[in-house]
């Protein structure tokens, strides 16, 4: 057992991959036990998750739908999650904890909805403007947080929470007073031209939702990777994140980098906001903060705050959340079990440092045993040698 674990997880270079995978497997097994206790077949329930996300064929489809349409609507849900998780990761690298992604998403979504979503601009102008305005709004809100921290020493956790509430209430007031749709009790839907997802588009005989943002989100992940691995700015942000004193000694401007970190993080949150409100949904529900902003913290953690890791982790978490609706109807399990499994995955991956430490201990104890055994062997040989003399 010990040997097996050391063999699987012992390679330190690969641990950033193997340990999250280990955490996922353990949680899936734990989830399977719960499903089993409820009298459901865990394998078929997990299959339902994949089917709901368009990664495995369902038994039957409604007209104009098939696995591909399920998959594109899965990508539609994935896009904001990916952006939001990148936003968390950038802040974490800079040593800041951006718990206000939700508020930044909401601000960006609301401003773009009002300015461009209701403007009647043509598609070619509206879509880029939506992105641009989303980035600017998010960056401004994020930058404000960074500035408050640097200028007035206001803990970013507190200021982002306050801004979350302020945004939530002010925007809810504006929607209920000026833009409410009396039937849906949400904001009026944005114009089709401004939507970042082409909803119900006829492709051949299929009707699919095509999320344009997903390409951008993947590109953004690679840009962030480039930023941190290859540029001076990325290096400085990381230095400030690891040690403010060290950064000061090295002559790095701490305040400037703090603000910049939050500007980038906010801009990504803004993109998450526009792909959520003008892509995935098309309207804003008053008085509700998107839970994506909080889940993203966990997704980012699961991906080790590594942009490429985050592509995978957000993919996985979105499978579980998006597929849960279908699982609940197909297998008759409460959809909430999916979020419990997600929670477990996060719980185990939060212990990754401990797992790595344990594996290291097991590895060295195995090595010691080996050395002891070899010593005994040589001793034996020496003894037998003596006997022959």
């Amino acid at each position: 057992m010990k040997k097996l674990i050391v063999k699987l997880l012992g390679n330190e270079k690969r641990q950033s991959m193997t340990i999250p995978i280990f955490a996922i497997l353990v949680s899936l097994v734990a989830g399977a036990v719960v499903l089993g206790l409820l009298g459901k077949n865990p394998l078929s329930a997990y299959m339902n998750l994949l089917q709901g996300s368009g990664l495995w064929p369902k038994a039957s489809y409604a007209g104009g739908k098939n696995m591909l349409t399920d998959f594109t609507s899965f990508l539609n849900a994935l896009t904001p999650m990916l952006f939001a998780s990148l936003a968390v990761a950038v802040a974490l690298k800079g040593g800041l904890f951006n718990i206000g992604i939700s508020g930044q998403m909401l601000c960006a979504g609301f401003v773009t909805t009002v300015v461009i979503g209701y403007s009647g601009l043509s598609s070619g102008i509206a879509k880029p403007l939506v992105l641009l305005l989303g980035i600017v709004t998010g960056a401004l809100v994020g930058g404000l947080v960074g500035w408050l921290k640097f200028k007035f020493n206001i803990n970013e956790v507190v200021s982002t929470i306050m801004i979350n509430y302020i945004a939530q209430y002010v925007i809810s007031f504006c929607i209920n007073t000026f833009y409410v749709n009396p039937v849906s009790r949400q904001s009026n839907p944005v114009s089709k031209a401004a939507r970042l997802t082409l909803m119900e588009t006829q492709v051949g005989d299929l009707k699919m939702d095509i999320p344009l943002g997903i390409i951008l989100a993947v590109i953004a992940a690679f840009i962030i990777r480039f930023l941190f691995n290859k540029t001076k700015l990325g290096y400085e942000i990381k230095t400030v994140g690891s040690s403010i004193t060290a950064a000061r000694y090295a002559g790095i401007s701490v305040g400037r980098n703090m603000v910049l970190t939050m500007v980038i993080s906010g801009a990504l949150a803004g993109l998450a906001g526009v792909t959520y409100y003008l892509g995935y949904f098309g309207s804003i529900q008053p008085k509700v903060l998107p839970s994506t902003g909080f889940d993203a913290i966990a997704v980012s953690l699961l991906g080790n705050s590594n942009p490429i890791g985050i592509i995978f982790s957000s993919f996985l978490i979105t499978i579980i959340s998006k597929g849960s609706t279908y699982m609940s109807s197909a297998a008759g399990v409460e959809a909430e079990i999916a979020s419990v499994i997600t929670g477990l995955i996060l719980l185990f991956s939060a212990c990754s440092a401990y797992i790595a430490y344990k594996v290291k201990r097991a590895k060295s104890s195995l090595e010691e045993e080996k050395i002891l055994q070899e010593k005994e062997k040589t001793n034996d040989r020496a003894d037998s040698g003596k006997g022959a003399e």
């Binding site: 509430y165 909430e336 212990c351």
Partner: protein, 319 residues
Amino acid sequence: MDNIIIDGLSFALPLFIMAIGGIYSEKSGITNLALEGLQGFGAFTGALVAVLTASWFSGGSQIPFYLAILFAVLGGALYSLLHALLCIKFKANQVISGVVINILATALTAFLTKQINSAVFGSPSDKFVLGVSNRITVPGLSQIPVLGAVFTNIYPFEIIIVVVAFIAWYVLYKTRFGLHLRACGDNPHAVDAAGIDVSRVRFIAVMVSGALSGIAGISFAYSISANFSGNIYVGYGYLSIAALIFGNWTILPTLGACLLFGFAKSGGYEIVKMLKMPSSYSDLVMILPYVLTLLLLIFFSKHNKSPRALGEIYDKGKR
């Protein structure tokens, strides 16, 4: 005016007791963003016991209410063990652990509420209906002008909270254990050198925060929402964290911050009612406590100092 004080207190006090829990945990050196999840889980266990036992007692009985508080404390403390284990034993990043605990609490309580409702009561409801607890008016004292409102229409949990808060204050500042706890957050190595088990003190501190958050959670469930459901997670935990940071990790200023939140909130509602504005305007006044906090922080944050070893994993070998 009376309403502002009555409603303000009934919101501020649960917030305050949760913030004291947060102070315990953070003063011992463990960052606690998990308050939100702890109060929710505490409210869940409390509400569960209340609905399960409701049939044992007559309709007007208050016993389920007190049982609920007791079990909310136990549930909160038990669930906080998870945070303590992750942060102390498994050396996880404390901020991340807190967020994960919150996510798991939301998921777990939603799942269990539905499962239990359909298994025990045969209806797949996503909430436990509790109703609002009865209220007490102290005769005599409530007749004092203005201040009398403090003694009018109080929820029983408010009295419990005041008593518990006083004990918590005494333990933290006047006892040997409290001294150890505060030292753990500033210089754990010194505490260790004095022969005190740092991990043990921190474990207890986190569990206290869980227990106190449990009281807060069940209080919200019995007053504002009148039930237990996913709506319990509206961010009061985060608000109390803001209060304790604002209060500079000390109990009395934190009480001030909580009262500010409470009165700004109830005052806002009264203004909307007085000026006969449409109800959507209440959203606009609801931002008062948060804007006030931000503004005040701009003036006071310069002197804010968190416990020195806050958020650091205690490593014996580092000394």
